[in-house]
């Protein structure tokens, strides 16, 4: 009950954010967005046809009417049909989002897990050569462009070694999944690892210097026990925050590059195609749902805080 009222309160609190996101993206992507008219017209259009298509696309209506319509679409979660293919936006989303999730999940999980493990190791040996090695590697990883990694991995694994497909997504069972997901996963882990390790190390070092860690050592706890119970568990709040808040960005931004490059029919590629072809219904849906996702994550994060830290209460303020 407490939880429910909390969630409702938070949802209402998220409305300004959703309004903000929709307004800004509406202005940029819809009102000043690309003009699809001439892509839908024939090779030999007439003025009347142009006016007709513009009217069908709704370009001729005033700003406020169009924005209000967007909000109505948000409220009903019905974004109509794609301007390019005519496919229902909801069916595009339900077709592509699972692909993106399946594509990104292994890299996301591995990137964070490895980041935490390396962060723990570096924090434990802070100042030593192990730490310097890991952190040096992290800086190197951070300095390489995602695009360079993708190009290099594709060339290496797909062309030179030929172990994995160069592109595509023809997944129907576990082996084929592993076959297609490996190179994108490696690339995204490689790119995320540097940033993750640095962040986790910083958080963990701060925790490792706390008094209760010294207490645990003074009472004979083993390093693994200390790292897990004292360091990791206590650093959960920043860790959970980072991991959760990276989800919406990864689902859209991260998948965008990987999917365009590897030709995988996920939400990122659809979004990118929508940008470059001005498919506004899809853009409206993706941006709007991302904002909703953000609000949901805000709520989930708060609830998880409660789970990982007994000092946090949902009714009062944290810590």
């Amino acid at each position: 009950m407490e939880l429910l009222s909390y969630v409702i309160r938070k949802l209402i609190g998220g409305i300004p954010l959703i309004l903000g996101v929709t307004l800004i993206s509406f202005v940029l992507m819809v009102y000043f967005g690309p003009d699809k008219t001439f892509e839908l017209l024939s090779k030999n259009p007439t003025e009347a046809e142009i006016a007709q298509v513009r009217a069908q696309l709704g370009y001729d209506r005033p700003f406020l009417v169009r924005y209000a319509e967007y909000l109505k679409e948000m409220a009903t979660l019905d974004f109509g049909f794609s301007d390019s293919t005519g496919e229902r936006v909801s069916s595009i989303l339900s077709r592509t989002i699972p692909v993106s999730l399946a594509l990104l999940a292994p890299g996301f999980v591995l990137g964070n897990l490895l980041g935490i493990v390396l962060g723990l190791v570096a924090a434990w040996y802070r100042g030593g050569w192990v730490d310097k090695l890991i952190m040096g590697g992290a800086v190197v990883g951070m300095s390489i462009s995602f695009l360079v990694v993708i190009v290099a991995f594709q060339a290496l694994f797909g062309v030179v070694l030929g172990w994995f497909p160069v592109r595509g997504w023809n997944v129907h069972d576990l082996p084929s999944y592993a076959y297609y997901v490996t190179v994108p996963t490696l690339a995204s882990v490689f790119v995320a690892l540097g940033y993750n390790t640095r962040f986790f190390r910083a958080v963990l070092v701060e925790e490792i210097n706390r008094d209760h860690v010294r207490t645990a050592r003074a009472f004979g706890a083993r390093p693994a026990e200390i790292l897990f119970r004292n360091v990791l568990m206590n650093a959960m709040i920043p860790i959970v925050t980072r991991i959760l808040f990276s989800i919406p960005l990864i689902v859209v931004s991260g998948s965008l590059l990987i999917e365009s490059y590897f030709g995988i029919p996920g939400i990122g590629k659809v979004t990118f195609d929508a940008i470059t072809s001005g498919d506004q219904p899809i853009l409206k849906a993706v941006v709007g749902l991302t904002a909703v996702l953000f609000v949901l994550i805000l709520i989930v994060t708060d609830i998880l805080y409660r789970v990982v830290d007994p000092r946090v209460s949902l009714t009062g303020d944290a810590r």
Partner: protein, 333 residues
């Protein structure tokens, strides 16, 4: 230096030297420190912050921060066992079981995300191979012994639900739960208010007497020394300047530094001391120690040789001090 025919001490520290690697070079934080503690006895170590007393306790525990700090010389014998050469794994088995330590800040010394029960039973399970039920039972019993009301309920609390005094009691209960031979208490009451301070100290001493534990009490508060300790070691700039039975020390301090400390104690202790009484002058930098007596710069009895060479430890009765020109007068106030 060593005395024969003494009762076998629980802990003997001999010629302990600890160095730290810093950006300014090697720093000797503890220099040629020796002392011993017997079972049931309480040894106080007193000195200004930064004088090396906390480093000493960490060195004994084997908890010097690595790789910056290390023991460069000397020995630490616990019950005849050399700790400085013990591998980490073996040392770990001793910590919490044979030798325990409690810290200054009760607010932060406990892990905030686990309940008291979980933290106490973890120690008991680790060292005494008790079952979960036995460990819990034992933990409640220990909490009761340090004077925590309704221990069977409070044990499931989280640290943030307890007051500072309560938390320090939990720490003491936890530290003594495996009946260690030695307990090191590093400023255990400094962070508490005056009334709680007295209660907690009392509780600790009572339990120590019951269990026959040897205690090293590290403090900057001479009042605490006077109330609880048998022997006291006064440290200055990493080395021992004076050691004596508490009664002797307060009666007749020999080292001018000790005397200075004594003089600045307010007679009537109405409020707790946040810091040591002020002595004129400045403490020298450990990275660039003067060749002579480290206190020379601030010493009213300074002579020329004090600046040039280090005074050796002199024994006079049960009292030891390192001074060429010891204090003989009464302690003024």
């Amino acid at each position: 230096m060593t005395r024969i025919n003494q009762p076998h001490p629980v802990l003997r520290v001999d010629n302990l030297c600890v160095e730290f690697a810093t950006t300014a070079g090697q720093i000797r934080a503890v220099d040629q420190l020796s002392f011993s503690v017997e079972a049931g006895q309480t040894l106080g170590i007193v000195g200004e912050s930064g004088c090396g007393k906390s480093v000493t306790s960490l060195a004994i525990m084997g908890l010097l921060p690595k790789p910056a700090g290390r023991i460069v010389d000397g020995s630490v014998l616990l019950d005849g066992q050399e700790l400085t050469r013990l591998p980490e794994g073996r040392l770990r088995q001793l910590r919490g079981a044979e030798l325990s330590m409690i810290f200054q800040e009760p607010m932060t010394a406990l892990n905030p995300v686990y309940s008291i029960a979980r933290q106490m039973t973890a120690v008991l399970k680790r060292h005494q191979q008790l079952s979960a039920r036995q460990a819990r039972h034992r933990a409640i019993e220990m909490l009761a012994r340090v004077g925590i009301p309704r221990p069977d309920q409070r044990i499931d609390d989280y640290p943030h639900q307890l007051s500072g005094g309560m938390r320090q009691r939990v720490m003491i209960a936890m530290a003594l739960s495996c009946q260690p031979k030695l307990l090191i208490a590093d400023e255990p009451t400094t962070a508490l208010d005056v009334t709680t301070q007295a209660q907690v100290l009392r509780q600790m001493v009572d339990l120590q007497q019951e269990l026959g534990t040897a205690v090293i009490l590290i403090t900057h508060d001479l009042g605490v020394i006077a109330e609880t300790c048998d022997q006291a070691v006064v440290m200055y700039c990493g080395s021992k300047v004076e050691q004596a039975p508490v009664a002797d020390l307060f009666l007749q301090p020999r080292h001018p530094y000790t005397a200075g400390l004594m003089q600045s104690i307010p007679r009537i202790r109405e409020h707790k001391l946040d810091r040591l009484p002020v002595i004129e002058g400045q403490v020298p930098n450990l990275a660039a120690l003067p060749p002579g007596c480290r206190f020379a710069g601030r010493c009213p009895n300074r002579e020329d040789r004090c600046v040039q060479q280090q005074p050796p430890l002199t024994e006079r009765g049960a009292q030891q001090f390192a001074c060429f020109n010891p204090w003989n007068g009464p302690v003024e106030s």
